[in-house]
Symmetry: C2
Subunit: 230 residues, 2 copies
């Protein structure tokens, strides 16, 4: 039986008072399987779609980038969108996505604490990078000239948000989760969030390369065109 001084929740720092907390009634594997199988189905569907729906045949890496942005659209708009709408009620709610957030919060309790920065950053992610990720799926499939510009904007935005996410918690002394815990710290907090540094990092370099090459070509045109370009 818990004594009066031991907390009745799994979150850090351990002395947090979370009176409205209702423990999840779904097991962890259930929540993770639900999330990853949905993302997986979306990924495979987009992969197949990208082989047929593109106006010009796309290479493997380009098709994978379409899959990435489809998954980003889903995670930003559905998962993080849920957080934006229900962040005040997560602690006591038992909807699937609320339980998913209560599970994730074992690695970062700021998601249950109405942390001001977190809500602002997640709002921009859900309302801006989410829809723009879906727009990227279309613009890449349709080979629109804006595609690499959009890819650069979304990827820079994701990296900036993620750097702030890590940096604020680093400066807080990693107090919102059990430092070094294999699942909660290393997998939820470090690994999952690092994906949004690594993949957008690659896509930023890709955009820079593509757009710089395009600009080089434009700059190399004869003088008549040059007068319009600076």
């Amino acid at each position: 039986m818990a004594t009066s001084s031991s907390p009745l929740h799994p979150y850090w720092p351990r002395q947090l008072k979370l009176d409205n907390f209702v423990p999840n009634d779904r097991p962890t594997w259930h929540l993770l399987a639900g999330l990853f199988s949905t993302a997986g189905v979306l990924l495979v569907t987009t992969w197949l779609l990208s082989g047929r729906a593109a106006v010009v045949p796309l290479g493997t890496w380009r098709r994978l980038s379409v899959c990435w942005f489809a998954v980003c659209g889903f995670i930003h708009m559905v998962i993080e969108g849920w957080f934006i709408v229900y962040h005040e009620d997560l602690l006591g709610d038992q909807a699937f996505l609320s339980q998913l957030w209560k599970e994730y919060a074992k690695g970062d309790s700021r998601y249950l604490l109405n942390d001001n920065f977190m809500i602002c950053m997640e709002s921009i992610t859900a309302y801006l990078w989410g829809p723009l990720s879906l727009m990227l799926v279309l613009t890449i499939l349709r080979q629109k000239p804006i595609r690499f510009v959009l890819q650069l904007v979304v990827s820079v935005g994701q990296i900036y948000g993620d750097v702030l996410y890590f940096l604020t918690e680093y400066r807080d002394g990693f107090q919102h989760g059990e430092l070094g815990h294999p699942l909660y710290f290393w997998f939820y907090f470090v690994f999952l969030n690092s994906l949004w540094l690594v993949v957008p990092g690659i896509l930023v370099l890709d955009s820079v390369k593509q757009l710089t090459r395009a600009q080089s070509m434009l700059d190399a045109r004869p003088t008549k065109a040059k007068s319009k370009r600076n």
Copy 2:
């Protein structure tokens, strides 16, 4: 004479305890004149320089953008750089830039409170957008093909940081300054920070237009080239 319940500082919320606070010994006009005349000299110098140092003649708007990035480099690296290095000591310090921050903080006391988000966001601004702004001055003058890509990245970064800056304070109920004060709220907090929404907003549109045009040209090339481009 102040009673024990009245604060001995000009910051909001009024009940803040700021025991180490030492009032500025320079008048406000002195601090503002110092800041704006330095920025003004830098602006005029860059304007003149951009008429001579560019490898191809630049139009008026392009020259103004060079001036903008020179001023951004100065503000991000010197003013905000000072904040990053000395934010823990500002309250009791009388160096010119510390007094400037104590003056500005009348519109937003978070700069004196070691606010975690503020320090993280300003670090990225000082260490990343600052040097990249200076690099932009050179890349525009030298007509480097990367210039609009860099302009897009820096401008998106500035806008994102600024939106978070306003959004966090909005969600905090504008409690860190006197709401509606003509100088502290409207000029320091609203006007000065709005500049970093409006100007980067225009420069994002400019980059999008330029880069999309360049990409259109590249996409319109014959098939041999097309196989390399997706």
